[in-house]
C-alpha cells in the first residue's frame, strides 16, 4: 500500500488526516477573542452605512 493510503493506528485513515481535523477543531473550539465582542455593534452600524 502506498504511504499516503497507509492507515495509522488502526483507524483506517492516515495519521495526518486526523491531525488536519484536530488542527481545524482546535481553532473551532477556541473562545472567540475580545475583538469579536464589537462585531454585533459593527453589524448594526453596517446598516447605517
Amino acid at each position: 500500500m502506498p504511504p499516503d493510503l497507509r492507515p495509522a493506528n488502526g483507524t483506517g485513515e492516515p495519521g495526518w488526516a486526523g491531525g488536519l481535523r484536530k488542527l481545524y477543531n482546535s481553532v473551532v473550539d477556541e473562545p472567540l477573542p475580545d475583538s469579536f465582542k464589537d462585531l454585533l455593534k459593527k453589524l448594526d452600524d453596517s446598516d447605517d452605512a
Binding site: 499516503d4 488536519l20 484536530k22 462585531l39 453589524l43 448594526d44 446598516d47
Partner: protein, 181 residues
C-alpha cells in the same frame, strides 16, 4: 440586547445563525492564511459582508457554505489588493522535514500547520474544505467556484502532498533529497 435596536425576526434569526458559524470561519481563515490576526480580520469583514448581503441568503439553506464562499472571495481579493503573503515559518517546515523517519510520536499541530501552509493555495483550500471542514466535494466546488472534478483532483493532490510531508517514510525521502541537493 439593550445596546442595540432589535431587528426583524428574520434579521435576528440570521444574526444568530451567522454567529454560530464564526468559529468555523475562523478555523477556515486560519488554515487559508496561516495567520491568526489576519484570519480574525477576514472573519469579521466576511461576517459584515454576509450581514449586509443577508437578503440574498435563503433561510434554511447552508449558512456555513454561504459564508465560507464570502470569506474565501474576500480573502482572495485582500491578497490581490495588498499582496499580503502568509508568514510561512520556514524554520518550522525545516524542523518537520528533519524529523526522525522512524519517529512514532504523535503528530504535532505545529507540524501540521506548517505542512498545510506549504501546499499550493488551491490545494490548501480544497483539503481545508473537504478534509477539515467536512464539506462534500459538490459543496466545496461551489464554494471555490470550480468544477467538481477539479475539486476532487485538488483534494487528492493535497492529500498526497501532506502524506509526503508528514508520513515517516516520505519524510526520510525529503531529507535525503535535501541533503543531496
Amino acid at each position: 440586547m439593550p445596546d442595540r435596536i432589535q431587528g426583524s425576526p428574520e434579521d435576528e434569526s440570521f444574526r444568530k445563525e451567522l454567529l454560530t458559524v464564526l468559529p468555523h470561519l475562523r478555523a477556515f481563515a486560519r488554515g487559508l492564511s496561516g495567520r491568526s490576526d489576519f484570519a480574525d480580520d477576514l472573519v469579521q469583514e466576511a461576517a459584515i459582508k454576509a450581514w449586509t448581503a443577508r437578503e440574498r441568503y435563503q433561510a434554511g439553506t447552508n449558512m456555513r457554505a454561504w459564508t465560507f464562499a464570502i470569506l474565501r472571495n474576500h480573502y482572495l481579493s485582500e491578497l490581490r489588493r495588498s499582496r499580503r503573503q502568509t508568514d510561512l515559518d520556514e524554520g518550522a517546515v525545516e524542523r518537520m522535514l528533519v524529523m526522525d523517519a522512524d519517529q512514532e510520536g504523535p503528530l504535532h499541530l505545529g507540524d501540521m500547520e506548517a505542512a498545510l501552509q506549504k501546499l499550493a493555495p488551491e490545494r490548501r483550500e480544497a483539503v481545508l474544505l473537504v478534509g477539515a471542514s467536512g464539506f462534500s466535494y459538490e459543496e466545496a466546488a461551489e464554494i471555490a467556484c470550480c468544477p467538481i472534478g477539479t475539486m476532487k483532483s485538488r483534494v487528492a493532490r493535497a492529500r498526497a502532498d501532506l502524506a509526503r510531508m508528514l508520513d515517516g517514510e516520505a519524510v526520510a525521502v525529503e531529507v535525503k533529497k535535501r541533503r543531496a541537493g
